[in-house]
Symmetry: C2
Subunit: 129 residues, 2 copies
Amino acid sequence: MRIGELAQQTGCQVETIRYYEREGILPKPQRGQNNYRLYGEPHQRRLQFVRRCRDLGFSLEEVRTLLDMINGGTQSCAEVEALGRSHLEAVREKIADLRKMEARLSELVSRCHGGRTPDCSFVEELFES
Amino acid sequence: MRIGELAQQTGCQVETIRYYEREGILPKPQRGQNNYRLYGEPHQRRLQFVRRCRDLGFSLEEVRTLLDMINGGTQSCAEVEALGRSHLEAVREKIADLRKMEARLSELVSRCHGGRTPDCSFVEELFES
DNA sequence: CTTGACCCTATAGTGACTACAGGGTTTATA
DNA sequence: TATAAACCCTGTAGTCACTATAGGGTCAAG
């Protein structure tokens, strides 16, 4: 199939697929007489793997690492697990950060009573505290 | 004070301060005979405002909007509140996203029992599901 | 005087895309 | 058959919010 269909099948943009190829995340596919890329199931499965990892917040570098582990053929589930746990920890930290942000924003917003007053506690606190 | 001291006082990098000036977030300061930037308290207070907004996850564009509201002199606390609430909502959505991510990662990781097995459920699920 | 810290401008790089320019190929329709 | 729109290609630049580097000037302390 051509790149447009692969994009549809995987929910990944055409341009992103080309980007992944340039970055070495996807191998170069075969080409037709017209120089169009031609993809088969292995490419599709690999791209779906990449997208799932990305959806889980893995960076491309981490995805690359995972793919290397798999393709090395000497994949150790312990290494994969370690990467997964490390990333899970990062996600939890990010959640914690955002929760702090949320709490502070909630507080600031709750002190807003709207209106056309020149004194806005939201702004005042950000300027002073 | 010079830029290095302003950086220290505000916890903001020298290069970031220059960047903010280029982006129009900070007004151009006066210069000394040596062409060094010279900052006073108004600049410091403004930069601290910018940093606090950034720490709360506001984009530079949103910061710019807030500053315009304030400097327009016709600031309406309702507008500020609206921006704050909208942003708070975005933060909550991001948290929800991350929570989903966390849950999925937790699930995948919990199925990992380590070891040198060629069958890694983590990888298998990402390739197949 | 020397040297290291500080300052300056201009420009490029980061990560993960996304958009655009300019041009070729395919497909569906009149 | 002709046409127009959709699709494909490569190369390059832009997005966002910084961050780093190159090359050069100024200041302050020893």
